[in-house]
Amino acid sequence: MNKRSLALALGAVFFASLAAAQGGADRRRSGYQDMGPALQKMQDDDTANPAMLFVQAGEALWKQKVGAADKACADCHTTASMKGVAARYPAIPAGADKPVDLEGRINLCRTTQQKAEPLRPESDDLLQLTAWVALQSRGDPIAPPDDPRMAAVRAEGERLFTERQGQLNLSCAACHDANAGKKLGGATIPQGHPTGYPLYRLEWQTLGSLKRRLRNCLIGMRAEPYDYNAPEYVALEAYLMERARGMTMDAPAVRP
């Protein structure tokens, strides 16, 4: 081996170990990585991913004039300006005093700008609009805002995540931190990173929000789910997004 090839070989070893070290430092896995190849393929092909039906409908809603102001989302926002938005929320929008999630942000626009009724939680219209907005952040890293006011919100979210509750005396963390990667029945317990919401869950056979997923978990723990408009969801979502900071957005995703 001459000097040049030795240097190349050493370089290769160095980068391989660097990559391994980085891989070791970040053990986070998205739900996409936990799925089998058939479901990954279903998500990757936009004509096979059922969530894209909702995106298509959301694009039509984006352009539709509504409310007393007779304005469409598209009258104020360009499509390009929506890039990264879903990767940032929950956040405290300018002029607001409390954090909202992406659905809440859409409804703020409806009530303050479009002068329309807010869309019902988990309604088709809200899911469709959210899916279209979220698609614009596909491939972007999750990037919660550096707003110092969000620290308390995330801390509250972490408290809710780790607090035992319900008749089974479980916490979110009991499954998704302490036992993630292990099997519960035949299913792998995911780490619970919100990279793909809203997503098409085969269990639901439709599109659903992170809020719906959180409600599922609460019901599964035999705990009383918070009301749909409760601030607890926004706090949990804010904590989960911080926990997934830097992970890649893959909304609208497919999950089992």
Partner: protein, 106 residues
Amino acid sequence: MANVLINAPKTARRGETIELKALILHPMETGFRPGANGTIIPRNIIQDFTASWNGVEIFRMRMSPAIAANPYVSFCAVASESGVVRLRWSGDNGFAVEESVTVTVT
């Protein structure tokens, strides 16, 4: 806008075999599931899917309740001449949706 997504190449070489994919929003309720009040939710499925190329039927599929919700169907076709591929879904409760795409054969 119908809740349909169709993926077909816009252009194809004459004689080339192309794949067409179609996705439609539909619950495909089996008629075997009990609802929240314990009574069976009535069946509501798409029964037939047909595809025609310039009016000539080229593919037909009879579906049962075991086809997954929001049915996805993919099949092949020989690009014989430029024209309109018309897809039609029909089923329970008078469900009928038609969508078409144009393929230019060069």
